[in-house]
């Protein structure tokens, strides 16, 4: 009969429940939840208030900032994942304790991953819940960027993308006194939820990529300078290339959003299927690690 080590004590330990006095721990938890809430709300407020719920305005406003923000998030996620899941990144002697107890290494890694997912994706999940209660987004076709044709000409390809992604789009109710531009506003039903889902989906892909990278690199990483450079170097290079390649492309984010909106089910299913696959592979790598 296969015996399993209890999982809850591992998760509780990874959440550092017994590692600090209660008051500082409670304050730290409160702080983290507050940060989550601010990020979770902030992502939506930026869209619904900052851009008056106009998604095209939103994309054209944040295009320059979005990629660096993503890259910053990816880098932080990489460091956090490295610290939590790679013995050589911190003090490998601590892992010696875990690895010589009656603790299943896979279980330990799973507990670590759960904490990572919660920390990194928590705000994005919260964002999804908040999105359920926010008003529908609108689209002003004239604001769709058409790089070659000037700002007054909507990009027909993007326009078509919106129509296909949101087949239920309908003109905003016209009231007396509205300008011609406002008359052309389209209401995109459930677009806030799709937006939040798109962020979460991207976050999941990012976390999975980082998890896989850390699992792949774990056996080579030590606290010495060269292995650390080898560990951090390739992602930094990739992130830099990403910024250079896509930082200036105005429609990249929008197209990505529309692609997600048009293929939600398939993309969500693919991400959901990738989670256990990456997890299984990373757990296997983790259970083969050495502590020297």
């Amino acid at each position: 009969m296969k015996t399993r080590a209890p999982f809850w004590p591992l998760l509780r330990n990874e959440l550092l429940f017994d590692h600090f006095p209660r008051v500082p721990l409670a304050l730290a938890v409160f702080y983290c939840l507050a940060v989550w809430y601010v990020i979770g709300c902030g992502l939506l407020l930026l869209l619904t208030r900052g851009c008056q719920g106009d998604i095209a305005l939103f994309f054209s406003s944040i295009q320059d900032a979005f990629v660096p923000i993503c890259c910053g998030w990816l880098f932080n996620a990489l460091m956090l994942t490295g610290i939590i899941t790679i013995p050589g990144f911190g003090r490998s002697e601590t892992y010696e304790f875990y690895f010589t107890r009656a603790i299943a290494r896979r279980g330990l890694f799973r507990a670590k991953t759960m904490v990572l997912f919660a920390v990194l994706l928590g705000p994005l999940i919260l964002n999804m819940f908040l999105a359920l209660r926010t008003p529908d987004l609108v689209l002003q076709p004239n604001r769709l960027a058409a790089p070659m044709s000037g700002p007054s000409m909507p990009d027909p390809e993007l326009m078509e993308g919106y129509r296909r992604a949101f087949p239920g789009a309908h003109p905003k109710v016209v009231r007396p006194g509205l300008t011609a531009q406002e008359v052309h506003e389209l209401v995109l039903p459930r677009a806030t939820l799709v937006y939040a889902g798109w962020l979460l989906w991207g976050g999941v892909l990012g976390v999975l990529a980082i998890q896989a990278y850390c699992a792949w690199m774990a056996r080579h990483v030590t606290r010495r300078f060269l292995p650390m450079v080898v560990f951090v170097g390739p992602p930094l290079l990739a992130i830099s290339l990403l910024v250079v390649q896509f930082g200036g492309l105005s429609a990249f984010l929008e197209r990505s959003f529309l692609f997600f909106a048009g293929h939600q089910a398939a993309l969500v299913l693919a991400a959901a299927a990738a989670i256990p696959l990456v997890q299984w592979w990373a757990e296997r790598r983790f259970s083969e690690l050495e502590i020297s």
Binding site: R4, R91, E93, T94, A102, I291
Partner: protein, 296 residues
């Protein structure tokens, strides 16, 4: 049930160009206390880490309680206790919280052992690990390993940072545990007097190779030193091929050798027309002689 709790065959392990362990054939009987000796960097820690499943061998086969460390299950781990000099316990945890955390993974956890050792070592369970001295932290690690009621204890320099009294207590506790039938310990230590006090068998490793592995009593009975002097024909041609170590001065020779029976030395003295004096060695002397021989 196999007669050996630990059995390795032709085990080797390298780190880059450095060979840490080479062709290690180790056998530790069930119910014995095995003293594993060697100089710094001799390969003791690497060997023990391979036994504990922290490192994997490049070549060879390892069986601990009949199971390869790479195949250890949670159930196998229940029966293997491990304490090392460098092991770091969770610094932020209180001692009692760490005990509680660890106890949840062991169905046979012995709380009485914990309480007894906390009292004996005078450890305050409300203190955090980071506030403990290195020696006290080691005592906590030892306590955790004993309370799980292991069949095998792997101890890598467990008492190096303890004072004399604490070390004595530690050894007493270990002996108390090992009085139970079938319990085994592999103990690596620089403090040879401790090993001599508790070990039944001794293994000496030098430069990754096991030089000697045998019962301590047999080792002390058979490995002796002999001072040869009064050579009638000079000692230029004096040689003992089977000697573990032979050093010559102007008019006498000092040989460390295995003496199989009482006639060995008289025969040697007669053959070289000299006299001899037998010197009994303690474990430390034997260790030094064997390790030096390996290095020379």
């Amino acid at each position: 049930m196999e007669p050996y709790m630990i059995e390795t065959q032709h085990v080797s392990r390298s780190f880059g160009k450095n060979t840490a362990v080479q062709n290690l054939n180790l056998r530790v009987r069930r119910g014995s206390i095995y003293g594993f000796l060697g100089r710094n960097g001799a390969g003791k820690t690497t060997a023990i880490k391979m036994l504990a499943g922290l490192l994997w061998p490049d070549a060879g086969d390892i069986r601990v309680n009949g199971v390869a460390p790479s195949d250890f299950t949670v159930r196998d781990r229940w029966k293997i206790g491990y304490v090392s000099e460098k092991q770091i316990l969770m610094p932020g945890m209180r001692v009692d919280a760490l005990i509680h955390f660890t106890s949840q993974f062991y169905p046979d956890w012995d709380s009485a052992v914990c309480e007894r050792m906390l009292r004996r070592f005078k450890i305050d369970p409300a203190r955090r690990i980071k506030a403990l001295s290195q020696g006290t932290a080691r005592q906590v690690a030892f306590l955790l390993a004993l309370a799980q009621k292991p069949d095998l204890l792997l101890l890598d320099e467990p008492a190096a940072s303890l004072d004399v009294v604490a070390r004595r207590d530690f050894l007493d506790e270990m002996l108390q545990l090992l009085r139970e039938e079938g319990k085994t310990a592999l103990l690596s230590s620089h403090i040879l007097s401790d090993v001599e006090r508790v070990a039944d068998e001794i293994g000496i490793i030098a430069r990754g190779t096991l030089k000697i592995s045998e019962p301590l009593d047999h080792l002390k009975e058979t490995v002796k030193q002999a001072r040869f002097y009064g050579f009638a024909r000079g000692l230029d041609t004096f040689a003992i091929p089977e000697a573990l170590r032979l050093t010559k001065t102007r008019d006498e020779a000092l040989a460390t050798l295995r003496i199989q029976d009482d006639t060995t030395l008289p025969k040697l003295a007669a053959a070289h027309q000299c006299q001899y004096e037998l010197i009994h060695l303690n474990l430390e002397d034997i260790f030094v002689e064997i390790v030096r021989e390996g290095e020379e």
